[in-house]
């Protein structure tokens, strides 16, 4: 595959190829200029934080093989209130990383279209620019899809401590919420009662057993009442054994 990156001497010397190269370079430079010096009114189209934007599909020869872009590292992520979901996979050929602050173009090799034997007639820089602008404007006003719910505290330990099962996370969050809402008298507890429960695929609690007492019978009983009140739980992805640690809110 690395052969695709190796320029062919004969092609570089080709006049048609040089013309194509010139147009491509001009297009990229124009793109940079436009995105860097856009009027403020349009500045909101670009997220203030670094984002990956698929800007344009630069025309390439029909017969051109898929070009693999050198792995470009995005700038370090900044904390955002709502992390964007990863962009859907697309047959993207070229990507342009738009930094927060206008910076000179990186000196590293750009994804220049690979030399080919035959090339389609290239568009002029103006045409490219117009097309590019249109595409950017079409893309950006689209509201970002809501980020998937972030996993809650790592309370689901599947397959042993330290293993977090993201697929169980929504169910775990529901269980936590249901039991918490049903637990009255948690203020009686100083310790942490632990229960082992068999949950069937419908969420029914078939066997509630106190695995470890809090040391206070009334605390244990309040926790057991919470579990019985929570029966049935929301249906889990599969029948399972559940270990529940019921912790009192820090209090006196």
């Amino acid at each position: 595959m690395s052969a695709f990156y190796e320029p062919q001497e004969s092609l570089l010397e080709s006049r048609g190829f040089r013309r194509l190269l010139a147009f491509s370079l001009a297009g990229h430079i124009a793109l940079f200029v436009v995105l860097t010096f856009r009027p403020p009114s349009n500045a909101t189209l670009i997220s203030p934080s670094p984002v990956m934007v698929n800007v344009v599909d630069v025309p390439k020869p029909a017969a051109a093989p898929a070009v693999k872009k050198p792995a470009a590292k995005p700038p370090p992520p900044k904390p955002e209130p709502a992390p964007e979901p990863p962009p859907p996979p697309k047959p993207v050929v070229n990507e342009v990383v738009i930094p927060k602050e206008p910076k000179p173009l990186p000196a590293k090799p750009k994804p220049v279209p690979k030399p080919v034997e035959k090339a389609e007639p290239a568009k002029s820089a103006e045409e490219l620019l117009a097309e590019l602008t249109k595409k950017v404007e079409e893309r950006n006003p689209t509201p970002e899809p809501a980020a998937p719910p972030a996993p809650g505290p790592a309370t689901a330990m599947a397959g042993g401590p330290g293993t977090f099962d993201p697929l169980l996370s929504p169910w775990v969050a529901k269980v936590e919420s249901v039991v918490r809402a049903n637990w009255s008298g948690a203020q009686l507890c100083k310790g942490v009662p632990t229960f082992d429960i068999d949950v069937d695929s419908a969420g029914a609690l078939n066997d509630i057993s106190l695995a470890k007492s809090s040391g206070d019978r009334f605390c244990d009983e309040s926790a057991e009442r919470a579990l019985r009140k929570s029966n049935p739980l929301p249906p889990p992805p599969q029948a399972m054994e559940l270990r529940l640690n019921l912790r009192p809110e820090p209090n006196r």
């Binding site: 309370t155 269980v175 009255s184 009686l188 009140k229 054994e241 270990r243 209090n251």
Partner: protein, 432 residues
């Protein structure tokens, strides 16, 4: 190509759903009271309002505990009144359906002119009988006190600790005048009555462990002395008849003696005496001022205030070994220690600017937390016998008044009516 294949394999491995057949979940509970349904007790008396009056006093007593809340009867699927008390069958599912985790049902009867109550307490979650009890009023017309005793019993069946709605709080009030008298009220603030009437200055009331006697300091003889005041019509008695000034007496748990502050030959120390006032023993021997004794539940340790370090601080003395250690180090003025009946905490008043706040500190001194902090003064903490509440005095509304608060700092409730400056609360134990 090989690298790409490895990458794809790894991707698939991580993306595949993990098969989990055992999951561990942590649930953190909140401060939610236990919902208990209370049916109005059946009554075979000619007084139609008896059942309703008893019910109102009972649910007020339950809610007083903060850890239990009664379910609104309008939500009941079953009858609001106990029917056929002799038949203990209970459709638990119908009580669970309205969110009740407990059920109280009972009956009232008048036996030989006195009210008698029998009741059952159910855990509807497990459909288990927690107990069946009967009580009878001591004197006629004590319906509300009887209902509070029932409420406190119910609280114990769900929490392991008896409720305190049937207890009383003693306090000092000037009632808008120059003299200060000892007063007593129910723990909910009702039934206030003056129990001393000597026109002098009476301070620092302290209930005996059995709740039958009040120890207090009075200037009625011209100097500060200790007196006992008994329930019933027995007159108050002077405790220690010596020339020394004596004040702020407290009861030592377990051994029945009394500790008090005695000013002798210009030195103020803590002494113990028998409850007859005999056999005085000096406890602290520092040349500094020692005052405000308060004992651990087993009576083997005493918290007190001493200025031997340069400012008033709380100290702890081991009554067996005589070893003393300083407990409070934060703040320049920490006074009025009160050891909780559970032994877990010592409440004290800490100076904050020109005012005082009440803090809790564990007996080891490793953890301190504010209980009530108000821009004005909160002071004189006194524990309820179950260790779940405290009474204190505060001038947050201008005059000093008595409040109560849960041990977690919630539910600050005013108990007095602002008719005078009220201070020095003392919370009684249960009356047998």
């Amino acid at each position: 190509m090989k690298r790409f294949a490895i990458f794809v394999l790894l991707l698939v491995a991580f993306a595949a759903p993990a098969r989990a057949d055992r999951v561990e979940i942590n649930v953190t509970g909140s401060q939610r009271p236990i919902p208990v349904a209370v049916q109005r007790f059946s009554a075979d008396t000619a007084n139609p309002g008896l059942s309703e009056e008893f019910y109102q006093a009972l649910v007020a007593g339950l809610d007083f505990a903060s850890v239990i809340i009664h379910v609104n009867p309008e939500a009941f699927v079953e009858s609001k009144v106990t029917r056929d008390f002799e038949s203990p069958a209970v459709p638990c599912e119908n009580w669970r359906a309205i969110g009740a985790e407990g059920l109280v049902q009972g009956e009232l009867r008048v036996v030989q002119t006195k009210l008698q109550v029998r009741f059952r307490v159910w855990d509807t979650s497990r459909c288990r009988l927690l107990g069946e009890v009967g009580f009878r009023e001591r004197d006629r017309g004590e319906l509300a006190p009887l209902a509070r005793v029932v409420a406190d019993d119910i609280v114990e069946r769900f929490t392991g600790r008896r409720g305190v709605s049937s207890t009383e709080i003693g306090f000092v009030s000037d009632n808008g005048r120059r003299n200060k008298e000892i007063w007593v009220m129910e723990a909910d603030g009702s039934g206030k009555r003056r129990v001393t009437n000597n026109g002098s200055i009476n301070l620092f009331p302290a209930w005996s462990p059995d709740g039958q006697t009040l120890l207090y300091t009075s200037f009625k003889g011209g100097k500060s002395e200790l007196f006992l005041l008994h329930r019933g019509n027995r007159p108050g008695v002077r405790l220690i008849n010596t020339p020394d000034e004596k004040y702020r007496g407290v009861w030592v748990p377990q051994n029945g003696t009394i500790a008090a502050v005695v000013a002798r030959q210009g030195n103020t120390d803590i002494y113990t005496v028998s409850r007859n006032g005999t056999d005085p023993k000096r406890v602290t021997e520092s040349r500094a001022i020692e005052t405000s004794p308060s004992f651990s539940p087993d009576g083997r340790k005493m918290a007190f205030v001493s200025d031997r370090s340069g400012s008033p601080q709380v100290w702890i003395r081991d009554m067996d070994t005589g070893e003393e250690r300083r407990l409070t180090f934060s703040g320049a003025y920490n006074v009025s220690p009160a050891w909780s009946p559970t032994g877990e905490w010592i409440a004290y008043a800490a100076q904050a600017g020109n005012n005082f706040d009440i803090y809790l500190i564990n007996p080891e001194g490793s953890f301190t937390t504010p209980l009530v902090t108000h821009p004005r003064t909160d002071e004189d903490p006194a524990w309820s016998p179950d260790g779940r509440k405290l009474a204190f005095s505060s001038n947050r509304r201008g005059r000093k008044e008595i409040y109560r608060v849960d041990v977690d700092g919630r539910n600050v409730i005013l108990l007095t009516d602002g008719s005078g400056n009220c201070t020095n609360p003392t919370w009684s134990s249960w009356l047998e």
